[in-house]
Every structure is written in C-alpha cells, then in structure tokens.
C-alpha cells in the first residue's frame, strides 16, 4: 500500500498548474486525493508527477452570478454541504453532498475531483444532472463549457482532454417552488450508492409541472431518467403517479452487476428509490 515514486508540485496559480500539466505527459492533477491516492497506493495508478491544486485560491469559492451558482473545483464536499448559499439556492446539491462517504472523505474530497473521476456510483452527478449543471474546462489554449450530461462519457471516462483542468461547476439557481430530494442505498463497505436518486419536482395545484430525475450507481454512468420525467409531467402529484413513473427508472439502461448488487437488484432498487425520492420531495413542501 505504498505508491510508486512520483514528483510533486503545488503551484499557486492556475496558469502555472496548466503549464506544469502541459509539460509533463506523466502528470496528473491532485485534488482531494480521495479517489486518486487509494489507486496510487495499490499501484494501479502510477502518475509520475502530481500537480496539487490545493494552493490555488481561485479554485475554492462559491459565488452567485447570472442566475447560477458557480462552485470552484476545489470546493470540498463538506463546504458544499454547509454553504449557506448552496443550501438556499441549490438545495439538492447540499443535500447530496451530505451523503458522500464519511466526514473525513467530505473534508478532503472536492466537487471537481468527483466530477472528473466520473465514478459511475458517485453521488454528485445524480444531483448535478437533475440540476442541469455545466462544467468549465480550462487549458493552456483556452476554455470551454460543457453540460454535465455530455461531459460524463462513460464509466470513469469524461470529455476532459489531456492538459485540461476542470475549474468550475455551474449550477442554475433552483426555480421557485421546486421541491427536491436525494436518496441513496449504499454498499456498506465503501458507502458508494447501489442506487442513488436526485429529484426535482414542480407541482402547481396538485399537478406536476416540472420534473428532473437522475440516477447514479445503477448504470455504467449516472443518467437522467427522462422516461420517468415524461411520465410525471402533467400528472397529478401522488403515490400512483410516482409509482407508475418510477417503473421507468431504468428504461434503456444496462444495469451494472457486481458482488454487492446484481443488475436485477439494482433495477429494483432504482425504481423503489425513485418512487421514494419523489415521495420525499413531494412531502418536503
């Protein structure tokens, strides 16, 4: 459990980090280290050079701008969970952060690291997909924005190119009156979701006017369950609607299977969790 030899740099500016990253093909960015370091200890990952982003002040912030909350990549799970701004303006994200790992993991792990690592069972993506978040990617030659849905390509695979750093996550402000809930059933050893669900629900006069539902831990990447959303909108908010909609939780999804949960069990959990998350959200009014 001792990593292979590596060099370590802790630049204080983003441009210096980008320069270092561009100049060493063996380099990897280090954020909270909660995913990268365990893999290094098993020597599954052996980056020759770690570029630690911890000393770059510009990467750790939460701010409101143009109808969105901007969150710096190095903002820890704990900061997201406890930020008054996020709690008020993007409550689903704060609720979700509280479910990640344990206190130690939340104190070190970052939103940028989680999103880039793209673990198919990570909690954030379920919330961020439901909130239609975007990410900002910066390289030496420029910057671009990408929707999270396009950014997450596959299990552990993203749009991020070599030499690029994810600097911010942009989350649109929660719409007025929208109710939210996050629910997860976790694998007991790691605490990762076997099925996690983020839900946003708008209800007017008993009728569902708006629905966003996204799942994690079920398929090879987190996804938005559009079939569930379609089955909700226009219907009366209530147990029957929720149950009927939840049945579509895994439409078109090839569920994962591992020693902790078979595909069959995950499919079941996904539907149950979606229904319960919808009930939670509806009940939170």
């Amino acid at each position: 459990m001792i990593p292979a030899r590596f060099e370590y740099s802790a630049p204080e500016t983003l441009s210096e980090a980008l320069r270092l990253l561009g100049s060493d093909g063996e380099a990897k960015v280090l954020a909270g280290g909660q995913s990268l370091v365990p893999m290094m200890k098993f020597r599954l990952a052996q980056p020759g050079h770690l570029i630690d982003l911890a000393r770059i002040p510009d990467l750790n912030f939460v701010a409101e701008e143009n109808g969105a909350i901007r969150i710096g990549a190095m903002t820890t799970h704990n900061q997201v969970e406890t930020s008054a701004l996020i709690r008020e303006k993007c409550p689903l994200l704060a609720k979700t952060a509280a479910h990640i790992g344990d206190v130690q993991v939340r104190n070190r792990g970052t939103i940028g690291g989680s999103v880039v690592h793209a673990d198919p069972a990570a909690d954030y993506p379920a919330a961020l997909l439901a909130m239609e978040a975007k990410v900002k990617l910066v390289s030496a030659s420029g910057e671009r924005m990408a929707g999270l849905d396009e950014f997450l390509v596959d299990a552990l695979t993203t749009l991020l190119e070599e030499g690029e750093i994810l600097t911010e996550v942009h989350v649109p402000l929660e719409r007025a009156g929208v109710l939210t809930a996050y629910r997860t059933l976790v694998q007991p050893a790691s605490g990762f979701a076997m099925a996690g669900v983020g839900v946003r629900l708008g209800v007017e006069n008993g009728t569902i006017t708006f629905a966003r539902v996204a799942l994690t831990g079920v398929g090879s990447k987190p996804y938005r369950a559009t079939a569930v959303e379609q089955a909700l909108v226009g219907q009366g908010a209530g147990a029957e609607t929720f149950a009927a909609a939840a049945a579509h939780a895994t439409d078109g999804v090839d569920a994962l299977s591992d020693m902790h949960a078979s595909a069959e069990y995950r499919v079941n959990l996904a539907a149950v969790q979606v229904r319960r998350a919808l009930e939670d959200a509806a009940g939170s009014a």
Partner: protein, 781 residues
C-alpha cells in the same frame, strides 16, 4: 518511621466503573506500537506474495530488484530453508500437516502465499523492489470450495496426499439414532458460516533486532502470546530459548489473529541475524485481509430431534471446515470447540458430531473472536428456533423447557463438559423483561396485520472460556503473576497474560488497590515482555482475569501473609492477632497501626527481620484452573425488514450477559459492545468472498464490509452475576460473549420477520440483496 497512621475512608475499586488507565496514552498518540519503534541502522522488509491460488514456481529473477539502490538483500524460499516450519498444534490421529515453510518453495498454494522477501533502507524502496522481481508461475488447477475439495477426484491441494482431508474428528454420546427414531419431530438445516477477516485496527508488524555481541535476539511483535512465540521461535530458528526475547508493545487489537506464530516473525528474525541489522516489517491492510487467518469457514449440517412437548432429545452435526492450504497454530483445534459447545445451554440426551477439515487453495483459517463457539451457537440457536416453529411453540418457551436448573450445577453436558455454575432462566427472564417480549409479540401482530415484516429474535448462548485447564490446551493453560512491592510501597505486577485492548492494566490495578488498600495510581501492571515476566501463556479465550487474575490473587495473598508477619514483628505482637484491612495492619494487642507502605519499607530496610523470614516483599504464583468457566446470557433483537429493498433495521437490541463476578462493569460493557458489533457484522454484511479460482474478491475495505458506528443499534446491556466455582475470584470471562450471542439473535429476528412468507432459513450475511431475493422467490411461489 511513621508510628501512627490515620485511616481515611478508603476508596475501593472492584465492581466500580473505573475508566481505563490505558486510554490516555492511546488517545493522545503517545503509546508505542511496533511501527513506532526505530532502531539505528534499521532496514525494512516487504514481502512479495502469490497472485495465484495454485501454481508451480518455475523461476525467480531477483537481479533487477537487487540492483535498485537501497536494496540490501532479497530472500527466496531456498535462502531461508534453515528456518523450521510454521508450527501447528493439533493432535488428531489422522492430522496431516503439510510442510509449511516461511517462504514458498516449489509451489504456491493460495493467493497471498509469501514467495520473496526484500530488504531495503526504507519501506518505499522495499515496495518498489517488489515490482522488480519476476516470478515465473506455472498455474495449476485450483480447488477453492471446501465441499468440492472433499469430493472424489477433486484436484488435490497437496499432491503428496491422496485427498484433501486435513483431519477428521468425531464425538458422540447416547443413542442418537434412537432419539431420532423416537422423536415426535426432527428437522435439519444446512448452514453456511462464512470466512471472516479479523481486521484488527493495527495490522501485524515486527521489528527483529540481533545483538551480535550478546548473541541475543529481540523480537518486537504485535502478538497476543509473546512467551509462546518465544518458545516457538527457539524451535523454528534452532536457537537457545534464553537468548531470545519477545516484546509485545502496544497491540492494536488481535481478535485471535495475533494468537498465532506467523511466518513473518521467524522471517524477520532470520534476516536480522543474517544481515546483522534490525529489520522492520509492517503488514499492509491488503495483506492483512488476504492472509491473516480467516475465522469460521464452516459448512454445517445440523439435525435436531424433539418431543411434542418441546423436550430436545438429540442433536447431530456435521462440519466441513475450510482450513485453507496450510495450518496455522490452532487451525485444527478451533472447529473442535464448536463440537464441544454444540449443546449450548440445553439438556440434550444424545448427540453425534463429525468434523472434516478440508484443504483448499485459500489462506489458512484459524481462531477469530469466539473461535468455534459462535459457529456452534449460531447453528444450534437456528435449529432450535426452527424446531420451535415446527412444534408451534414460542421460541422462548422451548428454551426455558430445556435449560438445566440452577440446582443441577455443576452440570455435565452431553459433550462431556462440566458447566461450572449458571442460572440460565434468570438471565433469559431479565432479557425478556427488558425488551418487554409480550409487547413485542403484540407489536408483531399489529405489524403483520399491516403487512409489515417485523421480527423478534432470541439467542441464549453459553460460552466455554477461561482457557483453561492445561490438559485441555495445547501449550499449558495456567498463568503466572509476580507482585513486587517496592520500598516506597508502590506495587509492580508482572503478568503472563498479554492484554491488547482488554484493559487488564486497569482491572488488575483495581484488584491490587483493593487488596493492599492503596490507590490505583500506586500500581503498575507490566506485561508482554519475556525478559521481564518469567513466563506466561498469553491473552486469548477470555482467560485474562480468570486465570491471570487468579494468579495475581494468589500472589497478593502471599504478599499479605508475609507483610502480616513483618507487621506482627514490628508491633511486637502475635501474628494471629494482626488483621489487615483497608491498607492498615492493626492488632488487638497493640495501639500502634502500620500502613501497607510502612511495612513495605521495613521489608526492605530489614532493621527488624522476623525470624525465619527473608527480606523483600515479592511473590510469584502460578494458577492452574480446575476447569473452563462457562459464561452465558441471552440476546434479543427486534427488526423490521423493508420488503422493497431487503434492508433490515434493528429496532432494539438487548444483551443480558452473565460473566460471573465483575471487576469493572465499564470494561465488561466495552467487551459486550465490541463483541455485539463483531457478531452483527457477519450477520448482515461481512464475509470473505473467494471465486472458484481461489481469488479473494473483496480484498480492501472498500469491498470488505465491517460495521461502522452508523450501522450499530443502541445496545441495551444488563447482567446477572453467577460466580464461577473454578477460580478464587468467581469470574468467568466476557471477551467472546457479545460475538457469540448477537449473531443468532439477529438472524432469528430476520427469519421471524420473514416467516409469514414461509421462510425458515436465510444464510448470512443477510444483505439487503439476499433478503430481497428471498422475498422475491417466496412471493413468486
């Protein structure tokens, strides 16, 4: 010299909730564990282990590793051939003990089998060097499953044996076949008891230090048995025992896994002597999960016979124990304890048990908290519950019906054990009252009417502990204690037990403080160093207080007797007139009194040496118990199962335990809490998983689940106190109780919850998925 002493109201400690004297150093990071030890010139070892479960080693290339700057030496199996095999204490006639070398030679037999050791100037270089070693393996066929291993024509783990039978063991009494023929009801269950990784918080670790001048070898090891280890090392290394010193520094938990003699211990010693340098080896968590002897590992078939009225008449058990590829120290003995404890708290008239140890291409199994007794209790409590259901009897009633009465003690079980003392019904009643059993059953009725799955699970358990009479233990079952009273009246206790979390520094200090009428802070308890403590057996099987404490008790009696002689002589009175109470010697024939410290000083100054008395105030005593001690208790648990997800919520958990007389309730409760957690882990999440290729699939803490605080219910503890009759303290032992009692209570509760669906058994770990599957199957059929 003080001539008068005032006698303030003396504080006594026994029976009080005294906080652990060990804790301040442990929680402030000032305790010294093996990895904290640094020696000048110390080198670091790392071990390369087999990725294959079965393979021939056709070549090992070490040149690249040797060429890495900082690497000092590389050892393969043939380089350490002079070291004797890893010992195994087993005595079955047909026991097969394969040659178990500290590094593999021609073959590897399990994933994690040590193959090469690298020694370097730091552990980072040592780890890098492992990557540079190339071992050519020629994989051979693997046999991973113990039942498959016993089938005709199965691949043989050890080609030198005709089959995979490591040993067999049989025991029987009474006419069990007749009992089954004449029974009104019989039933049977096949029950899996999975392999468990012990997961001590501190992994194994050693520092071996060779003094070339004195020809003295010192081994610091995270062990539960420093003295036994020393003797074994002398044999393995072919060295005079008096030139070896073993020190167990702070030990961060063992749970039995460090009650062993490990290859890496002799390996580090050999290398230290070879290179004439101190050697440190610290096990990684991954190695720990992979190779530190797993516990349990049974496939049990149990059958029970009963009369209509609930009288249990016969019991049959067949155990297939997956022992892995090699034996460790106690591997063959552990499952025999399951046979011995099989009758539990019940008066069976006949039984028959057979046990087969199966070699498999897996890591060795051996003792783990409870060692045999949790297995026995689990299968017994399951089958008794099942029988109650068949009889339409309340599971509490069938238990009451079969307990021996208090007047029947000492009670001889059908397996030939003499239970020392007990009032099983009293403890059970207390538990039932505490949880309000009737109300729980009412609640269950209500829940069922609402379609909810609510269950109540009972487990009444007995334990065999306080190991033990020497004839029943492989290396002596006695214990030794020395009490050295210093000139200043301070007391040093040297004990042969080797606590590693149990808290005997506290409980022994309480005993000494009360016996001598001194504050606890005047006592120091020294253990775990073979150069300080003459000999001892160690800490395992809840023997610390019962055996070690009894030896201490005897030594303290000697001290008081001798001090009394001194006091009488100084007071110039007849010794018969002197009493020692609350730390004060007084006599009806004298006005003057003496404190314990006064007398201690006199025994050193010797200005007035009583005739026929030697100077000094020390005593060493050995205690040999007449029998094991048998704690017991009742655990009851209520659960609710979520039908849609299979998740189980523990609503309440009540544990009433009787461990004999109690020195410190806080320590007892700590043991129960930890034990319950360790029993519940395997009940709903824990278990080592091997595939058919002998690969261990959940080899990290991200996949191997052990309970965290958030998984634990609030544990409501209570107790009864039935003194033991086999030691002068009346104590029994509590190290395993929680682990033994909790698991069956949980499983019985979940099965009870699922019983409306026709479920009468679900194997552990009862994960949400496995429960969900059962619910699915049942609702389909």
């Amino acid at each position: 010299m003080a001539t008068t002493t005032t006698t303030p109201e003396l504080k006594t400690y026994i029976g009080k909730r005294v906080r652990r004297v060990e804790d301040p150093r442990l929680i402030t990071g000032t305790a010294t564990y093996v990895d904290d030890i640094r020696k000048p010139g110390m080198l670091h070892a790392a071990v390369l282990r087999s990725p294959y479960a079965a393979a021939k080693i056709t070549g090992i290339a070490i040149e690249k590793a040797l060429a890495l700057p900082g690497v000092k030496a590389v050892y393969t199996g043939k380089d350490v051939a002079a070291v004797g095999p890893v010992p195994c204490a087993g005595s079955m006639e047909d026991l097969r003990i394969p040659d178990h070398r500290i590094l593999a030679r021609e073959r590897v037999y399990y994933v994690g089998h040590p193959v090469v050791a690298v020694v370097a100037t730091d552990r980072y270089i040592a780890a890098d060097a492992l990557d540079l070693i190339e071992v050519d393996y020629e994989p051979t066929e693997v046999i991973s499953d113990p039942e498959e291993a016993l089938k005709d024509g199965a691949v043989r783990v050890h080609p030198e044996y005709p089959d995979n039978v490591a040993f067999t063991y049989k025991q029987a009494k009474g006419d069990v076949d007749k009992a089954f023929e004449e029974a009104d009801f019989t039933c049977e269950e096949r029950i899996l008891v999975p392999r468990l990784a012990p997961i001590p918080m501190e992994t194994r670790g050693v520092v071996a230090d060779w003094d070339e001048g004195a020809k003295e070898l010192t081994l610091y090891s995270s062990t539960q048995i420093p003295h036994l280890l020393k003797t074994q090392l002398a044999l393995q290394l072919d060295m005079p025992e008096h030139h070896i010193r073993v020190i167990a520094p702070e030990v961060g938990g063992g749970f039995g896994s460090k009650c062993n003699v490990w290859a890496e211990e002799a390996l580090a010693c050999f290398v230290a002597m070879d290179l004439k340098k101190p050697i440190k080896w610290i096990e990684s968590r991954r190695e720990s999960i992979q190779v530190v002897a797993h516990g349990r590992a049974h496939v049990d078939t149990i059958e029970i016979a009963a009369k209509k009225d609930g009288t249990l008449t016969g019991l049959k058990l067949h155990i297939v124990c997956d022992i892995g590829a090699h034996h460790q120290l106690l591997t063959p003995i552990i499952p025999t304890l399951a046979v011995l404890m099989l009758p539990g708290l019940y008066k069976f008239r006949s039984f028959k048990a057979s046990l087969v140890g199966a070699f498999t291409n897996r890591a060795p199994s051996d003792l783990y908290r409870g060692a045999g007794r949790p297995e026995a209790t689990y299968v017994l409590e399951r089958i008794v519950d099942k029988m109650a259901r068949i009889l339409g009897m309340d599971p509490a009633e069938i238990r009451f019906k079969n307990f021996p009465e208090p007047a029947e003690f000492p009670f001889e079980t059908v397996t030939g054990l003499q239970y020392d003392s007990g009032d099983y019904a009293a403890a059970f009643h207390k538990a039932l009252d505490k949880i309000d059993y009737k109300a729980c059953r009412e609640e269950q009725k209500k829940a069922r009417a609402e379609g909810r799955l609510y269950g109540i699970g009972i487990s009444t358990y007995g334990e065999l502990c306080a190991f033990g009479p020497s004839p029943a233990t492989p290396a002596g079952g006695w214990e030794c204690a020395s009490v050295n009273v210093k000139a200043t009246g301070k007391v040093e206790v040297l004990t042969g037990i080797s606590p590693h979390g149990q808290g005997e520094e506290t409980s022994f200090s309480q005993m000494v403080a009360d016996a001598f009428g001194i504050p606890m802070s005047d006592v120091v308890v020294i253990h775990g160093d073979t150069a300080k403590v003459s000999y001892g057996i160690g800490t395992f099987g809840s023997r610390g207080i019962a055996i070690g404490g009894s030896a201490l008790h005897l030594a303290m009696q000697d001290i008081v007797a001798k001090a009394t002689k001194y006091a009488a002589h100084i007071l110039d009175v007849d010794a018969d007139t002197v009493t020692f109470k609350n730390g004060t010697f007084s006599s009806s024939a004298a006005e003057q009194t003496l404190s314990f410290a006064d007398v201690a000083l006199e025994t050193h100054l010797c200005r007035k040496l009583p005739p026929g008395t030697e100077p000094g105030l020390t005593a060493t005593r050995f205690f040999e118990p007449s029998n094991f001690a048998f704690p017991f208790g009742a655990h009851i648990c209520t659960v609710e199962v979520d039908q849609e997800t299979g998740e189980t919520t523990i609503l309440r958990f009540v544990a009433v335990d009787d461990c004999g007389k109690i020195i410190n309730p806080l320590l007892v409760e700590g043991q129960i809490h930890g034990g319950v957690a360790q029993g519940l882990g395997p009940a709903f999440m824990e278990g080592v998983i091997y595939d058919e290729e002998g690969q261990l699939l959940n080899g990290t803490m991200m996949d191997y689940a052990i309970p965290k605080a958030r998984h634990m219910p609030w544990i409501e503890t209570d107790r009864t106190e039935t003194p033991s009759t086999v030691n002068p303290l009346g104590v029994k032992g509590v190290g395993e109780a929680g682990t033994i009692g909790s698991l069956p209570a949980f499983v019985n509760a979940v099965v009870d919850a699922l019983s409306p669906l026709g479920v009468d058994h679900v194997d552990i770990p009862m994960t949400p998925q496995s429960i969900w599957r059962v619910i699915q199957e049942r609702s389909r059929s």
